[in-house]
Symmetry: C2
Subunit: 331 residues, 2 copies
């Protein structure tokens, strides 16, 4: 019996609480991090990094979770799957998600590592550099994927970071299979160029058969196809999936699909404060647009709008209801 | 044997992690809170309030802790005493304090209630309304006060909120006695008009004999003396303590001491974003100034400067090193 598509987007990812601090470039280098990227750290490294950091602000994050909050903020019906522990940060994560209207029912781990956290250093140029301790998110497995839930969502959205915890790969594949069995779409974000480096073959394989909608920024799509420039990557991705939405920071984004290529400008921002979440919120706008049947250009504009909101303040989740801003794009 | 005064200020207070969220006036009223004030809530009420709140940002707070961070940010040598539990929020609190250069050695509770938290609703007018769950801070007792440590600080600074947990009153009195025995100064902030209502007789008694430096805002000093206007309160406080520093929001502050009355303007602010911590940081500037022997007017100006910094962003602790801003006041 077919499930009704009563959800717009179901997101699956690594559940994280962000710990944001300000730092200068020198400090980022001294801490052994690569500016602008995400590095995986173990619990001991996370502790050392935290001790070397200035005072922090804790705020719920996680790439796909940020995206799903953005979809809900546009007025979309959205659910999230990701694993925290039964600790204080896990409680914070669940509260923040549910209080934005996102459905979230994943069973919390009652043993093992604490809730995952992402230590984020924001440099004066508003760039963010991340050290991620996966924590409890490594406990997400295929047992956490309810195929009937997946079948209820028009789009299932998976983050590339999910390929880092080994168990989650099985969850990823199970969700993708369930979505296609129900005639739904599968979306993937490549997440980070180093993440692409760690999982290139798997991602290329997924694109061949299992992914309909791809999100990537310029560095990630070039890393995937091992090409030096954006245009070469663009040629490769055409035909590799149904829709590809490729972001280029201040240069805006390019969307390809149905034989068409659409170039969308970045939405103007008065002052860029913190770029954390820019890609996540761009994906939120595009996914919301696709789930509601808007054309590619409109989808791209919704993405640009959401990204502009999130980079104009500290933190990776919108502070303004995106539906109140969307009027300028969808009338 | 006399201890050297190698600390400028020792602060003692309720250790809190703030959970900040934005809310409109209607929501504040619906939640049963009195706008602009601090209400004490128990664990069940805190849970209900949290569930009714929008997504939050966790950031270390606690009135005296904010002040002590401000003193350190001016370049002062500062230590803090306050109780957290051995949980994740307790870890966050300790990290954030130490990473600003504050000394903090209070033993963490290993049982009992979790680390205290202060649920803060920021309304569109930048006003903050607080619901405080004292949590582990009720476990602070006289056993946590090291008289030799107190003797090493030029000023011991106590928050009025400390009178809410019954055990802490003994800690308060022990610290005040130790400071005077060593020839040091005792400073008190009245914290909140309702806090004054709860402890008026005790505060008046403390002012008679045990407090040298008093901090209060207009509402608090009027509540203390049960008078209707600021000038009447000002007449009462003259002679009641060595120095009184009274804040009046945008109207600036009035400092009285040594028979003199100094009126200091508020420091200009481009945009008031969140008033949380304004009084705490004003106290930081004045305490730093007094500990370094500046005149009353300069102390007031340092206070205004620090308050202006903290209300221009979200969160109750400075984001800029205050010593880098102090040049405009102390040359």
């Amino acid at each position: 019996m077919a499930e009704p598509a009563d959800l717009d987007v179901l997101g699956i990812g690594n559940a994280m609480v962000d710990v944001l601090t300000h730092a200068d470039d020198e400090r980022v280098t001294k801490l052994g991090l690569v500016k602008g990227s995400m590095s995986l750290v173990d619990e001991a490294q996370a502790r050392a990094l935290y001790e070397a950091m200035g005072p922090g602000v804790e705020i719920s994050g996680g790439s796909a979770a940020n995206t799903i909050v953005g979809v809900a903020s546009f007025g979309g019906r959205a659910q999230y799957v990701g694993k925290v522990r039964d600790d204080q940060l896990g409680e914070v994560f669940g509260h923040d998600l549910r209080s934005t209207g996102v459905l979230y029912e994943t069973r919390r781990a009652t043993e093992g590592p604490p809730t995952g956290r992402c230590l984020i250093l924001v440099t004066p140029d508003a760039q963010r550099t991340m050290g991620t301790f996966l924590g409890a998110s490594v406990r997400l497995g295929s047992g956490d994927i309810d195929e009937r839930l997946v079948a209820r969502a028009k789009i299932v959205y998976l983050e590339g970071y999910l390929f880092d915890p080994p168990e989650a790969q099985a969850a990823f594949r199970k969700a993708a299979a369930a979505a296609h069995a129900a005639g739904r779409k599968v979306a993937l974000t490549l997440s980070d160029p180093f993440c692409v480096g760690r999982h290139r073959d798997a991602f290329l394989d997924l694109l061949d058969d299992h992914v309909d909608i791809l999100f990537a920024n310029e560095a990630e799509i070039c890393a995937l196809y091992e090409v030096a420039d954006f245009d070469a990557a663009l040629s490769k991705v055409r035909g590799h999936c149904e829709v590809a939405a490729l972001t280029r920071s201040a240069k805006g984004s390019v969307l390809v699909g149905n034989g068409a290529t659409r170039v969308v400008d970045a939405h103007p921002v008065e002052r860029v404060v913190d770029t954390t979440g820019a890609g996540d919120l761009y994906a939120a706008g595009v996914l919301y647009g696709l789930s509601r049947g808007f054309d590619l250009t409109t989808c791209g504009r919704l993405g640009s709008l959401a990204a502009a909101e999130v980079i104009s303040h500290v933190g990776a989740r919108p502070m303004m209801p995106l539906r109140s801003l969307a009027g300028s794009v969808i009338g």
